[in-house]
Symmetry: C2
Subunit: 262 residues, 2 copies
């Protein structure tokens, strides 16, 4: 089994090293990841400047990973791995382990999840994995959890155009409550723009945001599952059509008639 | 009615000027858009460097628009407009008119659509509008079409968490076939990485991609509608949960038992 690893924290981030280390005994691993942190890049791709890929050796616990550091976004990494760097497409793509949660509406902004979406656009089974804390923490347990999920999904075929978005609370193994299959919740960010003056008296802003979970009381929601100490596994697809509204909008009978003078 | 306009082609792009010009007679317009082109930025937001907003006057046909040029992405622009720049949230957000289509899976990469998603995350009705050509073209007809759609949706309330993604073919008004309510199609990009050598003999790549429409034969698909000369209107939401797969994944009975040694 050949697994492609990527992330949005950069190729030298501890999350991807732990994952490499956990998976090296059971699979061929290639790491193709951004050469620096590219968080919150969403599904950005690089079209207006050239890309570079530098071959690297990654020393990890228990072995050595190999791969490429790419001067682009997580999505660029997956495209480039599949189209240029690997002799043939991998059997599985795992994006992570991300430092910080990718829950609910977070995933709209997430470079981690976008890389996995890029994977399923190529029809390659893909997982996105996140450790739900920004506090520096060990990724070892999360990597082990990822490995057993990989073992369990290996023999099931994920349907086309579907990835699993996995969020793991930063708890010791024995305190994890189990694995819950969930829906995406709705996180609202209370964005605050902190106004400052530069040395020349001109205003600039730092944007920050605190997540407020809106659907937290609903059952089977990823945000709630993680708070209760469960590993959250959400099947994710990429069709944003609002099917429920199709017929209603058809009934509006939008027309160019007036404009055309008919 | 107060309309916030934004885009991903930059505040001085012709698409947003045409739209400003078409809407000035019927609404109060504020433009808050990136200070330069930010296409294919997806839903990227700017957290690791500060943002600036410079007040600008926009001379457009038939009047003068006012607004701010922001040093960030389309999503940053919407956040900053709502949270800092405007005294109160706008009644409607329109992102566009984009130069180039945002059809099917395009919208995953689209800064234009992401800005509109940002709008509905704030519970503000939002539209994303694109002219489906990269050839330099007049946006006048597309702006008129947008205006009549705005007129027609003004009195309907779009349900929460839903935007309309509008794609307008670059045809003279009388050649437009009408307005079709559509689902998102599946566009595959045949990415090509063009390999070159820099002056020092090191390899770099230009990524380009040609869209191949996979679902083109299906009825009511946005890509097909536009090819037939229709204005395409797709209701779009942002919940990426694959509901169809929830029960199946639950039946996998993913478990930490083995790992915990239970």
């Amino acid at each position: 089994m050949h697994i492609l690893l990527t992330n949005d924290d950069g190729i030298y981030a501890p999350g991807i090293a732990s994952l490499t280390s956990a998976l090296l005994p059971v699979a061929q691993i290639t790491v193709v990841a951004p050469d620096r942190e590219r968080s919150a890049t969403g599904h950005a791709i690089t079209m207006h400047k050239p890309l570079r890929a530098e071959e690297v050796q990654l020393e990890v616990e228990g072995g050595r990973g190999k791969g490429w550091a790419v001067s682009g976004t997580p999505s660029d990494c997956v495209k480039m791995a599949v189209k240029v760097l690997l002799p043939e497409p991998p059997d599985l793509i795992i994006s992570g382990i991300n430092r910080g949660p990718n829950l609910g509406t977070d995933i709209l902004y997430s470079g981690t999840v976008s890389a996995a979406i890029e994977g399923i656009l190529f029809d390659i089974p893909s997982l996105a994995v996140s450790l739900t804390t920004f506090t520096p923490s060990s990724f070892t347990t999360a990597a082990q959890v990822t490995k057993i999920i990989v073992d369990q999904v290996k023999n099931r075929s994920l349907p086309p155009r579907t990835l699993l978005n996995i969020n793991i609370p930063p708890l010791p193994l024995q305190e994890l409550q189990g694995i819950k299959v969930t829906k995406l919740g709705f996180r609202e960010y209370e964005n605050i723009f902190e106004e400052r003056l530069d040395p020349w008296g001109k205003v600039y802003y730092w944007m920050r945001g605190d997540a407020v979970d809106r659907d937290d009381d609903l059952e089977d929601i990823d945000t709630a599952a993680v708070k209760k100490g469960f590993v959250s596994v959400t099947p994710v697809q990429f069709d944003l059509t609002n099917y429920a509204l199709l017929e209603e909008v058809k009934n509006w009978k939008l027309s160019l008639g007036n404009l055309k003078g008919e």
